[in-house]
């Protein structure tokens, strides 16, 4: 769709807002509908939209194979890591309240934040990867 100037212009205006909304959905998941999974999907979708409009090659320039591969495992690592930190802090696995971050309530809140971010990173990276690996590229 590289040659459609309307699509290109609209998308280059829209994509930052889509990404901002994705971050909002992740960050505000604990007080409104949404959370890591939905936010991650929206974030992934914004990159997919970019790749559809500006071509697969420039999409891969923004999010390289190396980066998306790294992010796929980084998200799960963050999730599991928060759980392990809770063990080191003297609690059970994934017992966020035990993390040494102020009161129990605040620690639990921040722990949930941490794992939501982990989920969002993995989901976004996996969606991007599935799209780039399944869709047909220009040169094949």
């Amino acid at each position: 769709m590289k040659e459609h100037i309307v699509v290109r212009t609209v998308c280059s205006i829209l994509i930052p807002f889509i990404q901002l909304f994705a971050l909002y959905v992740v960050a505000n998941g604990e007080s409104s509908p949404g959370g890591g999974f939905q936010g991650g999907v929206i974030l992934g979708a914004s990159i997919i939209l970019y790749a559809i409009v500006f071509g697969m090659k420039s999409g891969r320039k923004r999010v390289s194979e190396r980066l998306s591969d790294l992010l796929i495992s980084a998200g799960v690592l963050i999730y599991a890591g928060v759980g392990l930190l809770a063990i080191f802090a003297g609690g059970a696995y994934l017992e966020y309240g035990a993390l040494p971050l102020g009161t129990k309530k605040l620690a639990s809140h921040l722990g949930i934040y941490g794992i939501e971010i982990g989920v969002a990173i993995t989901v976004a990276a996996v969606m991007i990867t599935i799209f780039f690996e399944t869709a047909r590229h220009e040169d094949d």
């Binding site: 959370g35 999907v41 982990g118 690996e133």
Partner: protein, 182 residues
């Protein structure tokens, strides 16, 4: 009234999606199906589920199926071959049998819903087990207001970890199976 219209739309979407031979149109119709489903979830006050349905079902799934379609043909094979093939005629009896099985299964499922408690009844067994505790103590115990998030991330943290691992494994499998070597 609006619920009945929405459910009717769902049924129509389902029928059309099966009847279509153009796979791209089918994909778009399934996206519309998911969007209507999201509205139904909202009507049932399940906003988090509606959000997921709208972003995953209507959004990303449609795109990923279209991405997969870009590597194959847009039309079903029998249309490309020109009309319905002999195979289609051969399996007519089998298809009728399948229809019967589907109708019976659907009937049994519908019969099962008769025994279900009324929607939103606070005295349902399902609403009396752990739900009161979630509603009363979520903020106190987890510091989070939206108790759907609290259940997913805290009370059922292991399940969500497993879910994330499933997505991770899916990504890994796609890389291993489909990545083109340079």
């Amino acid at each position: 009234m609006i619920d009945i219209i929405l459910l009717l739309f769902l049924v129509i979407c389902g029928f059309v999606a099966v009847a279509m031979n153009d796979l791209l149109s089918t994909t778009i119709i399934l996206g519309a199906y998911s969007l209507i489903m999201a509205i139904v979830w909202t009507r049932l006050n399940a906003v988090d589920v509606a959000f997921t349905e709208a972003s995953v079902g209507a959004g990303i799934t449609t795109v990923l199926i279209i991405a997969a379609l870009s590597r194959t043909q847009r039309m079903e094979a029998q249309i490309l071959a020109g009309g319905r093939s002999k195979k289609y005629e051969k399996y007519k009896v089998k298809r009728l049998l399948l229809l019967m099985v589907i109708l019976v299964t659907g009937g049994i499922l519908m019969y099962g819903t008769i025994d279900m408690p009324a929607f939103g009844n606070p005295n349902d067994p399902a609403n009396l087990h752990v739900v009161p505790r979630y509603i009363k103590k979520t903020y106190e115990e987890t510091g989070v207001v939206n108790f759907v998030t609290a259940i997913l991330a805290n009370y059922r943290g292991y399940d969500t970890l497993g879910e994330t691992s499933v997505i991770f494994t899916a990504g890994l499998s796609v890389i291993l199976l489909l990545r083109r070597k340079k």
